[in-house]
């Protein structure tokens, strides 16, 4: 797994609590933060409102297909992508349908 260095500030009491957790579990502070963030993301990714919001971000071009697929799953991501493609072509499709 590749890693990336990031800088952010945390409230002191959280750092202290994380350090206690690290001491008790024989892990380092980074491992504690990674595990906490993983758990949080797993929980929020199960939340339908969150998934719906990510679909919105894909539809307005803010996030790419791979990000969408990671969060909502590949099959649903493909459904969203197909819908977007079709709707982006909606006026042409409607013109051709109207001409039948």
């Amino acid at each position: 797994m590749s890693t990336k260095r990031v800088n952010f500030r945390l409230p002191e009491e959280l750092v202290e609590q994380a350090d206690v957790a690290a001491e008790v579990t024989h892990k380092d502070r980074t491992e504690i933060l990674i595990e906490a963030l993983r758990r949080y993301l797993a929980e929020i990714e199960d939340d339908e409102e969150f998934r719906e919001a990510v679909v919105e971000l894909y539809l307005d071009g803010t996030v790419g297909f791979d990000t969408l697929a990671e969060i909502v799953g590949r099959q649903d991501a493909e459904a969203v992508r197909a819908s977007k493609e079709l709707l982006d072509d909606g006026e042409t499709l409607a013109d051709d349908l109207a001409d039948l």
């Binding site: 998934r51 099959q75 459904a79 819908s83 909606g90 409607a94 051709d96 109207a98 039948l100």
Partner: protein, 164 residues
């Protein structure tokens, strides 16, 4: 010619525009879809009512049986009704396959030569043919789009741009 699956019939009937659709287009479907509409019509909800209204128009719809069942592919996303529509679209060389099943959309698009379209596209086409006013189409779209699940809700909001 356009082939419509169960979800398309239910949507267009929910929007109260199916009568206009069958008057304007040559609509083809399958006996499997007809069975699904009969099953849906037994439910006491808006989809059940819509399926019942669709069945009232069945005389206006060309219902065919699939010659070669193996042509329709059933997958986790393509159900039996949709698979029969794939088969009939191939057999008839229909120009369009209409569905409102977003989850089946990628596989349906790959399975047929026909162009796949959603019910809002049909509404737009009816406006272009002067069979519906802009306001009627927009109202039908909003009625169809009610009660969407988490995946469909944002797609519905995106679709609304077609009517603005």
């Amino acid at each position: 010619m356009l082939v419509a699956d169960t979800s398309a019939f239910v949507s267009l009937a929910v929007g109260d525009v199916l009568r206009v659709v069958v008057a304007e287009f040559e609509v083809v479907t399958t006996e499997t879809v007809l069975d699904e509409l009969r099953e849906t019509a037994e439910y006491d909800d808006r989809h059940g009512d819509a399926a019942g209204r669709a069945l009232e128009l069945i005389e206006e719809i060309d219902v065919r049986s699939v010659v070669d069942e193996s042509e329709g592919i059933i997958t986790s996303r393509i159900d039996e009704g949709e698979a029969s529509c794939v088969a009939i679209a191939r057999e008839t060389g229909a120009e369009f396959l209409i569905t409102d099943d977003y989850r089946a959309l990628p596989e349906l698009r790959a399975a047929v030569d026909a162009r796949v379209a959603l019910s809002p596209i049909v509404l737009r086409a009816l406006v272009k043919r002067d069979a519906l006013s802009e306001d009627e189409a927009r109202a039908a779209f909003e009625t169809i789009a009610e009660q969407r699940d988490w995946l469909e809700a944002p797609i519905h909001r995106y679709t609304r741009e077609l009517f603005e």
